[in-house]
Amino acid sequence: MTVIVNGHSWELPHGATLADVLERLGAPSCGVAVALDGAVVPRASWPGTALWEGASVEVLTAVQGG
Protein backbone atom coordinates (compact mmCIF):
# COMPACT_ATOMS: atom_id res chain seq x y z
CA MET A 1 0.00 0.00 0.00
CA THR A 2 1.04 3.60 -0.53
CA VAL A 3 1.23 5.94 2.46
CA ILE A 4 2.24 9.62 2.37
CA VAL A 5 4.96 10.39 4.91
CA ASN A 6 5.91 14.07 5.24
CA GLY A 7 4.74 14.62 1.67
CA HIS A 8 6.62 11.64 0.16
CA SER A 9 5.02 8.43 -1.12
CA TRP A 10 6.15 5.33 0.73
CA GLU A 11 5.39 1.72 -0.19
CA LEU A 12 4.63 -0.23 2.98
CA PRO A 13 3.39 -3.78 3.56
CA HIS A 14 -0.18 -4.22 4.67
CA GLY A 15 -0.45 -4.10 8.44
CA ALA A 16 2.39 -1.58 8.80
CA THR A 17 1.96 0.69 11.84
CA LEU A 18 2.99 4.21 12.79
CA ALA A 19 5.79 2.69 14.85
CA ASP A 20 7.18 1.09 11.65
CA VAL A 21 7.24 4.50 9.94
CA LEU A 22 9.02 6.11 12.88
CA GLU A 23 11.60 3.35 12.97
CA ARG A 24 12.29 3.65 9.24
CA LEU A 25 12.67 7.42 9.63
CA GLY A 26 15.20 6.89 12.39
CA ALA A 27 13.21 9.11 14.72
CA PRO A 28 14.79 9.78 18.11
CA SER A 29 13.10 8.49 21.24
CA CYS A 30 11.93 11.93 22.33
CA GLY A 31 11.08 15.31 20.83
CA VAL A 32 8.90 13.90 18.04
CA ALA A 33 5.16 14.15 17.38
CA VAL A 34 2.95 12.43 14.82
CA ALA A 35 -0.23 13.49 13.06
CA LEU A 36 -2.26 10.93 11.12
CA ASP A 37 -4.71 12.47 8.63
CA GLY A 38 -4.55 15.72 10.60
CA ALA A 39 -5.05 14.34 14.12
CA VAL A 40 -2.39 13.96 16.80
CA VAL A 41 -1.55 10.36 17.72
CA PRO A 42 0.10 9.99 21.15
CA ARG A 43 3.36 8.08 21.29
CA ALA A 44 1.84 5.23 23.28
CA SER A 45 -0.54 4.52 20.40
CA TRP A 46 2.07 4.33 17.62
CA PRO A 47 2.66 0.54 17.76
CA GLY A 48 -1.06 -0.22 17.73
CA THR A 49 -2.03 2.19 14.95
CA ALA A 50 -2.19 0.31 11.63
CA LEU A 51 -2.00 2.41 8.47
CA TRP A 52 -4.16 2.24 5.37
CA GLU A 53 -3.89 2.99 1.65
CA GLY A 54 -3.54 6.75 1.13
CA ALA A 55 -3.05 7.59 4.83
CA SER A 56 -1.14 10.82 5.41
CA VAL A 57 1.48 10.79 8.16
CA GLU A 58 3.28 13.90 9.40
CA VAL A 59 6.29 13.41 11.63
CA LEU A 60 7.42 16.61 13.33
CA THR A 61 10.16 17.76 15.62
CA ALA A 62 11.56 20.94 17.13
CA VAL A 63 13.94 23.02 15.05
CA GLN A 64 15.50 26.47 15.45
CA GLY A 65 12.90 29.16 15.07
CA GLY A 66 11.06 32.14 16.49
Binding site: G26, V32, A35, T61, G66
Partner: protein, 252 residues
Protein backbone atom coordinates in the same frame (compact mmCIF):
# COMPACT_ATOMS: atom_id res chain seq x y z
CA UNK B 1 17.40 42.27 40.04
CA UNK B 2 17.61 38.92 41.82
CA UNK B 3 14.49 39.70 43.86
CA UNK B 4 12.54 40.93 40.85
CA UNK B 5 11.49 37.76 39.05
CA UNK B 6 9.25 37.60 36.01
CA UNK B 7 6.22 35.45 36.85
CA UNK B 8 4.30 33.77 34.03
CA UNK B 9 1.40 31.49 34.92
CA UNK B 10 2.80 31.07 38.42
CA UNK B 11 6.28 30.21 37.21
CA UNK B 12 9.27 32.42 38.11
CA UNK B 13 12.05 33.42 35.75
CA UNK B 14 15.15 35.33 36.81
CA UNK B 15 15.77 36.55 33.26
CA UNK B 16 13.52 39.01 31.49
CA UNK B 17 15.09 38.34 28.12
CA UNK B 18 13.63 35.55 26.01
CA UNK B 19 16.04 34.82 23.20
CA UNK B 20 14.53 32.94 20.26
CA UNK B 21 16.62 30.39 18.40
CA UNK B 22 15.63 31.39 14.85
CA UNK B 23 18.13 32.74 12.35
CA UNK B 24 21.39 31.49 13.88
CA UNK B 25 23.94 30.38 11.30
CA UNK B 26 25.02 27.39 13.35
CA UNK B 27 24.39 25.70 16.66
CA UNK B 28 27.72 26.64 18.23
CA UNK B 29 27.08 30.37 17.75
CA UNK B 30 23.52 29.93 18.99
CA UNK B 31 24.74 28.19 22.11
CA UNK B 32 27.20 31.01 22.88
CA UNK B 33 24.48 33.60 22.34
CA UNK B 34 21.99 31.79 24.58
CA UNK B 35 24.58 31.65 27.35
CA UNK B 36 25.57 35.31 26.93
CA UNK B 37 21.88 36.30 27.07
CA UNK B 38 21.40 34.22 30.24
CA UNK B 39 17.99 33.38 28.90
CA UNK B 40 15.89 30.76 30.70
CA UNK B 41 13.20 30.35 28.05
CA UNK B 42 13.68 30.14 24.29
CA UNK B 43 11.45 29.61 21.30
CA UNK B 44 11.67 26.66 18.91
CA UNK B 45 9.61 25.91 15.80
CA UNK B 46 7.88 22.62 14.97
CA UNK B 47 8.67 21.27 11.51
CA UNK B 48 8.67 18.04 9.50
CA UNK B 49 11.38 15.62 10.51
CA UNK B 50 13.23 14.55 7.38
CA UNK B 51 15.27 11.38 7.22
CA UNK B 52 18.52 11.99 8.99
CA UNK B 53 17.35 15.21 10.65
CA UNK B 54 18.61 15.72 14.17
CA UNK B 55 17.02 17.61 17.01
CA UNK B 56 20.26 19.46 17.65
CA UNK B 57 18.67 22.52 19.12
CA UNK B 58 16.88 20.51 21.81
CA UNK B 59 20.18 18.91 22.84
CA UNK B 60 21.71 22.37 23.33
CA UNK B 61 18.76 23.52 25.43
CA UNK B 62 18.76 20.37 27.54
CA UNK B 63 22.48 20.73 28.19
CA UNK B 64 22.00 24.19 29.71
CA UNK B 65 18.61 23.74 31.35
CA UNK B 66 16.92 26.28 29.04
CA UNK B 67 13.18 25.72 28.71
CA UNK B 68 11.95 25.32 25.11
CA UNK B 69 8.87 27.36 24.20
CA UNK B 70 7.42 25.89 21.00
CA UNK B 71 5.82 28.34 18.59
CA UNK B 72 3.23 28.01 15.87
CA UNK B 73 5.24 30.05 13.36
CA UNK B 74 4.04 29.74 9.80
CA UNK B 75 0.43 28.97 10.71
CA UNK B 76 -2.22 30.95 8.79
CA UNK B 77 -5.42 29.78 10.46
CA UNK B 78 -6.68 28.98 13.93
CA UNK B 79 -7.14 25.32 12.97
CA UNK B 80 -3.54 25.02 11.78
CA UNK B 81 -2.18 26.74 14.90
CA UNK B 82 -4.22 24.58 17.25
CA UNK B 83 -2.99 21.38 15.56
CA UNK B 84 0.62 22.63 15.66
CA UNK B 85 0.28 23.46 19.37
CA UNK B 86 -1.09 19.99 20.09
CA UNK B 87 1.80 18.42 18.17
CA UNK B 88 4.32 20.53 20.07
CA UNK B 89 2.77 19.45 23.36
CA UNK B 90 3.16 15.83 22.30
CA UNK B 91 6.72 16.30 21.02
CA UNK B 92 8.10 18.40 23.87
CA UNK B 93 5.86 17.49 26.78
CA UNK B 94 5.01 21.14 27.47
CA UNK B 95 1.60 22.79 27.44
CA UNK B 96 3.19 26.22 26.96
CA UNK B 97 2.94 27.62 23.46
CA UNK B 98 3.93 30.83 21.73
CA UNK B 99 0.87 31.35 19.57
CA UNK B 100 1.51 32.90 16.17
CA UNK B 101 -1.13 33.11 13.46
CA UNK B 102 0.27 35.08 10.56
CA UNK B 103 -1.80 36.93 7.94
CA UNK B 104 0.66 37.01 5.04
CA UNK B 105 4.32 36.49 4.16
CA UNK B 106 5.10 40.08 3.31
CA UNK B 107 4.21 41.67 6.64
CA UNK B 108 4.17 38.58 8.88
CA UNK B 109 1.63 40.53 10.92
CA UNK B 110 -0.73 38.58 13.17
CA UNK B 111 -4.22 37.83 11.84
CA UNK B 112 -6.21 39.14 14.82
CA UNK B 113 -9.42 37.20 14.16
CA UNK B 114 -7.72 33.81 13.72
CA UNK B 115 -5.38 34.60 16.64
CA UNK B 116 -8.18 35.22 19.13
CA UNK B 117 -10.06 32.14 17.91
CA UNK B 118 -6.96 29.95 18.35
CA UNK B 119 -6.20 31.46 21.77
CA UNK B 120 -9.69 30.65 23.01
CA UNK B 121 -9.48 27.06 21.77
CA UNK B 122 -6.04 26.47 23.28
CA UNK B 123 -6.92 27.98 26.67
CA UNK B 124 -9.97 25.72 26.70
CA UNK B 125 -7.69 22.76 25.93
CA UNK B 126 -5.47 23.54 28.94
CA UNK B 127 -2.58 25.30 27.22
CA UNK B 128 -0.58 28.15 28.72
CA UNK B 129 -0.89 30.55 25.79
CA UNK B 130 1.65 33.27 25.02
CA UNK B 131 0.18 35.08 21.98
CA UNK B 132 2.23 37.13 19.54
CA UNK B 133 -0.09 40.05 18.81
CA UNK B 134 -0.38 43.41 17.11
CA UNK B 135 0.39 46.56 19.09
CA UNK B 136 -3.36 46.98 19.52
CA UNK B 137 -4.54 47.67 23.09
CA UNK B 138 -8.04 46.39 22.36
CA UNK B 139 -6.85 43.06 20.94
CA UNK B 140 -4.37 42.69 23.81
CA UNK B 141 -7.21 43.12 26.28
CA UNK B 142 -9.35 40.58 24.45
CA UNK B 143 -6.49 38.04 24.52
CA UNK B 144 -5.97 38.57 28.24
CA UNK B 145 -9.73 38.24 28.83
CA UNK B 146 -9.64 34.97 26.89
CA UNK B 147 -7.22 33.59 29.48
CA UNK B 148 -3.83 34.05 27.83
CA UNK B 149 -0.93 33.93 30.30
CA UNK B 150 0.77 36.99 28.81
CA UNK B 151 0.33 39.29 25.83
CA UNK B 152 3.20 39.79 23.40
CA UNK B 153 2.73 42.88 21.22
CA UNK B 154 5.10 43.57 18.36
CA UNK B 155 7.35 46.61 18.27
CA UNK B 156 7.45 46.41 14.46
CA UNK B 157 7.18 43.54 11.96
CA UNK B 158 9.23 40.36 12.53
CA UNK B 159 12.83 40.62 11.40
CA UNK B 160 12.70 44.30 10.41
CA UNK B 161 14.78 45.67 13.27
CA UNK B 162 12.66 48.84 13.10
CA UNK B 163 12.32 49.01 16.87
CA UNK B 164 9.15 50.19 18.62
CA UNK B 165 7.10 52.16 16.08
CA UNK B 166 4.23 53.02 18.38
CA UNK B 167 5.52 53.43 21.94
CA UNK B 168 2.25 54.98 23.09
CA UNK B 169 0.29 51.86 22.12
CA UNK B 170 2.75 49.72 24.06
CA UNK B 171 2.26 51.98 27.10
CA UNK B 172 -1.51 51.68 26.80
CA UNK B 173 -1.25 47.88 26.57
CA UNK B 174 0.95 47.85 29.68
CA UNK B 175 -1.39 50.23 31.55
CA UNK B 176 -4.40 47.95 31.25
CA UNK B 177 -2.92 44.45 31.01
CA UNK B 178 -3.81 42.12 33.90
CA UNK B 179 -1.02 39.76 32.72
CA UNK B 180 2.68 40.30 31.91
CA UNK B 181 3.49 42.12 28.67
CA UNK B 182 6.38 40.82 26.57
CA UNK B 183 7.58 43.00 23.69
CA UNK B 184 7.96 40.58 20.81
CA UNK B 185 9.39 41.33 17.36
CA UNK B 186 11.02 44.32 15.75
CA UNK B 187 13.89 44.85 18.18
CA UNK B 188 16.98 45.94 16.20
CA UNK B 189 19.51 46.95 18.82
CA UNK B 190 20.04 47.31 22.55
CA UNK B 191 18.36 50.71 22.92
CA UNK B 192 15.12 49.24 21.51
CA UNK B 193 15.15 46.55 24.21
CA UNK B 194 15.85 49.15 26.91
CA UNK B 195 12.98 51.30 25.62
CA UNK B 196 10.58 48.35 25.79
CA UNK B 197 11.40 47.89 29.45
CA UNK B 198 11.23 51.64 30.15
CA UNK B 199 7.73 51.67 28.65
CA UNK B 200 6.78 49.10 31.27
CA UNK B 201 7.04 45.80 29.45
CA UNK B 202 7.80 42.87 31.76
CA UNK B 203 10.17 41.16 29.33
CA UNK B 204 11.53 41.24 25.79
CA UNK B 205 11.49 38.44 23.23
CA UNK B 206 13.89 38.76 20.31
CA UNK B 207 15.81 36.55 17.91
CA UNK B 208 17.03 38.11 14.66
CA UNK B 209 18.59 41.13 16.38
CA UNK B 210 21.01 38.71 18.04
CA UNK B 211 21.23 35.73 15.72
CA UNK B 212 21.75 37.87 12.59
CA UNK B 213 24.10 40.40 14.22
CA UNK B 214 27.72 40.29 13.09
CA UNK B 215 28.74 39.07 16.54
CA UNK B 216 25.71 37.26 18.03
CA UNK B 217 27.18 36.45 21.48
CA UNK B 218 28.23 40.06 21.96
CA UNK B 219 24.81 41.37 20.90
CA UNK B 220 23.19 38.86 23.26
CA UNK B 221 25.25 40.33 26.10
CA UNK B 222 24.22 43.84 25.01
CA UNK B 223 20.54 42.83 25.03
CA UNK B 224 20.84 41.28 28.49
CA UNK B 225 22.34 44.48 29.87
CA UNK B 226 19.80 46.66 28.02
CA UNK B 227 16.85 44.72 29.43
CA UNK B 228 18.30 45.05 32.94
CA UNK B 229 19.03 48.77 32.46
CA UNK B 230 15.54 49.42 31.11
CA UNK B 231 13.94 47.52 33.99
CA UNK B 232 15.96 49.49 36.55
CA UNK B 233 15.02 52.78 34.86
CA UNK B 234 11.34 51.83 34.86
CA UNK B 235 11.37 50.93 38.56
CA UNK B 236 13.51 53.96 39.46
CA UNK B 237 10.91 56.37 38.09
CA UNK B 238 12.23 58.73 35.45
CA UNK B 239 12.06 62.52 35.74
CA UNK B 240 9.26 64.23 33.87
CA UNK B 241 10.19 65.76 30.52
CA UNK B 242 10.28 69.59 30.56
CA UNK B 243 10.23 72.18 27.81
CA UNK B 244 12.67 74.66 29.45
CA UNK B 245 15.92 74.05 31.24
CA UNK B 246 16.08 73.55 35.00
CA UNK B 247 19.46 74.11 36.68
CA UNK B 248 20.86 71.32 38.78
CA UNK B 249 23.46 73.56 40.46
CA UNK B 250 22.49 76.13 43.13
CA UNK B 251 22.01 79.75 42.06
CA UNK B 252 25.29 81.72 42.10
Amino acid sequence: MADDPLVIAGREFGSRLVLGTGGASNLAVLEQALLAAQTELTTVAIRRMDTGARTGVLDVLRRHGIEPLPNTAGCRSAAEAVLTARLSREALGTSWVKLEVIADDRTLLPDPIELLDAAEQLVEDGFTVLPYTNDDPVLARRLADAGCAVVMPLGSPIGTGLGIRNPHNIEMIVAQAPVPVILDAGIGTASDAALAMELGCDAVLLASAVTRAEDPPRMAEAMRLAVQAGRHARLAGRIPQRFWARASSPDP
